[in-house]
């Protein structure tokens, strides 16, 4: 997480994150938003963000596309997975109790 904190400490990198959090963009499209920043500097920022796990890089033919890696869906899936694990254990306990009481009735 240290890396992520460091990665977003630079205002420029936060600007880049905001750009790619709603759409996938190429480095060129990202650079086009910053007239005062060189392409190599943008590439360097993208590398830092990627290494910090904040953006994803995807190849599409010869292009490389960048998008924010929010982890949001993974978190929801993890939560629901644990939810069903716990609830089904309780279902097992309760249904088996019900079955025993039926048999003894």
């Amino acid at each position: 997480m240290q890396n992520a904190f460091e990665a977003i400490a630079a205002p420029r990198r936060r600007d880049i994150l905001r750009l790619v959090h709603t759409e996938e963009l190429t480095a060129g499209a990202i650079a086009a938003n910053f007239g005062d920043v060189s392409r190599p500097a943008i590439s360097q920022h993208l590398r830092v963000l990627r290494e910090a796990g904040l953006i994803r890089e995807r190849r599409d033919g010869t292009r490389r596309l960048y998008s924010a890696d929010t982890g949001g869906l993974d978190a929801l899936r993890d939560y629901l997975g644990r939810f069903w694990d716990e609830r089904l254990e309780t279902l097992k306990t309760e249904a088996e109790r019900e079955e025993r009481s039926k048999r003894n009735a």
Binding site: R77, L88, E96
Partner: protein, 151 residues
């Protein structure tokens, strides 16, 4: 090309030492459903019938209560029940009707093999998470700027 925002279904299976008939009731009868899944339930177990549940918050989701507003899609005792799954609470990123829970009950070794497939977890969720993401950045930025100023 695979859609990066599509989520795979959550699949869980468990063996229960009770007949499919017994287990089935735990999905369709309020007094039984509230013994394992929800605090309160209003159930009309027929296709198109309501499946409303109130869930308490837990250690993972202290907000609560959460109002699940689903609808039965298939009801085939004692082997299969399907219902939609979504929440009235705007802070939960699954809207009513957005996802589906498919339950299959098969007789197995004198008991029941229960299979739950929770699918259709919506892509639109990503948007809600992104809101949270931007907020998080907004909160973090002053902190990290304070720490790293001059470096």
């Amino acid at each position: 090309m695979p859609d990066a925002t599509k989520t795979e279904a959550i699949v869980r299976e468990i063996h229960i030492d009770a007949s499919p008939e017994t287990v089935f009731g735990f999905f369709t009868e309020p007094d039984k459903l509230t013994r394992w899944l929800a605090e309160e339930a209003t159930l009309d177990p027929r296709p198109g019938g309501i499946n409303h549940q109130t869930h308490a918050g837990g250690p993972d989701n202290p907000g609560g209560p959460y109002f699940m507003r689903g609808e039965f899609v298939e009801v085939e005792p004692p082997s299969r029940v399907v219902f939609t799954w979504g929440f009235e609470n705007p802070e939960v990123d699954i809207e009513p009707g957005a996802s589906t829970v498919e339950v299959t009950l098969d007789a197995e070794d004198g008991g029941t093999r229960v299979r739950v497939v929770h699918s259709g977890l919506p892509e639109s969720e990503l948007a809600a998470h992104r809101e949270g993401w931007t907020e998080m950045l907004g909160r973090l930025a002053p902190a990290v700027e304070g720490r790293s100023r001059g470096t």
